[in-house]
């Protein structure tokens, strides 16, 4: 399949997914029992205030019209308005845009932590297969898989902020305040990638072309890094990319644990305030980011490995 058609097909599928996601998100928040006006207006609201609120949220309109309005707010890029005072408050998009970069940095830093730690760990374990290095690496990755992020985040804070005072604590921003959250987000992926790197590396190390490379008398370093690693890393990098979504979910938990601004914390706060337009917008933006990243990864993989394109 030529690259253009490949891209078109993936984009088409992605668009279908995003449309499906919008339908789902809309349905969740509109078909569920309970009146959103109740939550938003509170107990003491007068009938007039309630009517105004319902009007502002277009809840007095028939369901299909509400859905079309919702789609319209996606198309015009506002993602909807916050009631009861739509003019006086920022659009949903503006609120998300304000915090979203923090989440992207966090996810990227988590990803960086995962890849930077996982590769050496996996490679070492594969080269020193069956030794204590290998055993240590597998214990490390199993612990990383098992430890819940909700425990790891607070524990990191407890040690490095409360006990040792080395690193900044919750609510702070800035480069050094990123270290602990990045570790919290990245550890699980690090563990998974280390295991994958090891098995991928072990597989490649047994291949004929490596025997040939050694037989030619190439130094071991060249064999490992130029010949083996290149081939072993392709699947690992793909999985890493596809796991960007899990970084986003992880960011929700981590932002809560570290009280860091971000789309996760905005989502949770909006849920607590019953601010449905913002909840809807956050879920949509996270889902769309996820779909787009997956398309990009597929594309990058397709470019890197021509065999995929033909499949």
């Amino acid at each position: 399949m030529p690259i253009g058609a490949f891209l078109l097909r993936r984009l088409g599928l992605g668009l279908v997914s995003i449309l499906g996601v919008s339908v789902l998100v809309f349905l969740f928040l509109h078909l569920i029992p309970g009146d959103p006006v109740d939550h938003l207006a509170g107990g003491e609201a007068t009938a007039e205030q309630r009517t105004k609120l319902a009007e502002c949220m277009a809840l007095d309109r028939p369901m299909p019209e509400q859905f079309v309005r919702f789609l319209g707010s996606i198309v015009d890029g506002t993602l909807g308005h916050q009631c009861p005072d739509p003019r006086g408050k920022p659009t949903v998009m503006a609120r998300i845009a304000e915090v979203y970069p923090h989440t992207v940095y966090l996810a990227l830093s988590g990803m960086a932590v995962a890849v930077v730690l996982a590769l050496p760990l996996g490679i070492l374990a594969a080269i020193r297969r069956g030794t204590w290095v290998d055993a240590l690496a597998s214990v490390t990755s199993l612990s990383g898989i098992a430890i819940p992020m909700m425990l790891l985040g607070p524990l990191l804070l407890l040690w490095f902020f409360v006990e040792l005072g080395w690193l900044p604590g919750p609510t702070e921003l800035g480069p050094s305040a990123m270290i602990l959250p990045a570790i919290a987000v990245g550890t699980h992926l690090m563990a998974m990638l280390a295991r994958m790197t090891r098995s991928s590396m072990v597989e490649v190390l047994g291949e004929d072309f490596l025997r040939t490379a050694r037989a030619k008398g190439l130094p071991e370093g060249t064999v490992i890094f130029k010949h083996a690693l290149r081939n072993a890393l392709l699947p690992v990098i793909t999985i890493a990319g596809l796991q960007f979504g899990s970084m986003l979910s992880g960011a929700i938990i981590t932002e809560k644990a570290f009280a860091r601004p971000g789309i996760g914390l905005l989502l949770l706060d909006s849920i607590a305030e019953r601010n449905y337009p913002v909840v809807q917008g956050c879920v949509l933006v996270i889902a769309v980011s996820y779909v787009l990243v997956n398309i990009l990864v597929d594309l990058a993989y397709g470019l890197a490995d021509p065999r995929i394109r033909r499949a």
Partner: protein, 277 residues
């Protein structure tokens, strides 16, 4: 000869057995009562001691007893969710793979859409729709996307199984679709499904605890997630770290057990997959 289960798989199985035992009998073994009746039966925030191994919480309730009751909640929750998801997913996946055509297209699109949500986001979106979610809603939220993985595996298996000679033979002898599916197809795809169920066992507990931690799961039931959330509010006081470590390690125990056993079962089933992460 089929390879035997690895040592680490046995360790995982033993760890899981401990969890199941505590889930079944934990509430009976608990040294003190929990719940409303237990409030203020002991001083609050007692440090761990011989009479209260993990101390007491802000209501003077014994923390170890809560942990044991939490094992029951965790076991019930994961058993319900994993079984329902597996039954639902296998049924849907087998239908899609067996009948192909429109059914298959439809199912796969729904699967695509559900997979377009990063893991926990869909659970959050569902739970967020209700002001005070009960455990029932949490279960529903976990099932909403939990079946997808089973459906994909089942469908993939059916696509190859339906072309096998014995299935063709059954069809030639006039067996109905229902009979072929239930007698010849489903039993042969249960092995990978079992592996997936094993992994899911830990995953369900982890997601429930995440929801609790995010304040989106009922805090009244004695779940590990609720304890974790309580502990988080206390952890910055010196000497209070165990309130978050104990439930956290309990969750880690089950997740680790499920992963060890799941890896072992998968290796035994398909040696080519050995060691893959």
């Amino acid at each position: 000869m089929t390879p035997r289960l690895s040592m680490s798989a046995w360790v995982g199985a033993a760890m899981l057995a401990v969890f199941v035992f505590l889930g079944l009998f934990g509430p009976l073994l608990a040294p003190y009562p929990v719940g409303v009746a237990a409030v203020d039966q002991a001083p609050q925030f007692l440090a761990p001691s011989w009479s209260h191994w993990l101390g007491t919480d802000e209501n003077g309730v014994d923390a170890l007893s809560q942990l044991l009751h939490g094992a029951r909640s965790a076991l019930v929750l994961s058993a319900i969710v994993v079984t329902t998801c597996a039954i639902l997913g296998v049924t849907i996946g087998v239908m899609a793979g067996y009948f192909r055509g429109v059914v298959d297209e439809l199912v796969m699109r729904v699967v695509d859409i559900l997979m377009a949500f990063p893991g926990i986001l869909l659970n959050i979106a569902i739970v967020a729709t209700v002001a005070r979610p009960g455990l029932g809603l949490v279960v529903a939220a976990l099932i909403a996307n939990g079946w997808v993985g089973y459906a994909r595996v089942a469908r993939g298996q059916v696509l190859s199984l339906r072309e096998r000679d014995y299935v063709q033979a059954a069809r030639a002898t006039g067996a109905s679709d229902a009979r072929i599916m239930s007698r010849h197809v489903v039993p042969n795809l249960m092995a990978p499904i079992m592996v997936q169920m094993t992994f899911a066992f830990g995953g369900v507990i982890l997601v429930e605890a995440s929801l609790s931690f995010l304040g989106l799961s009922p805090q009244t039931d004695h779940t590990w997630g609720a304890m974790l959330d309580q502990g988080r509010n206390l952890m910055f006081k010196p000497g209070y770290g165990h309130y978050i470590v104990a439930p956290g390690l309990a969750i880690a125990w089950v997740v680790l057990a499920a992963n060890l056993l799941g890896d072992g079962l998968r290796d035994r089933l398909d040696p080519r997959q050995r060691g893959k992460g």
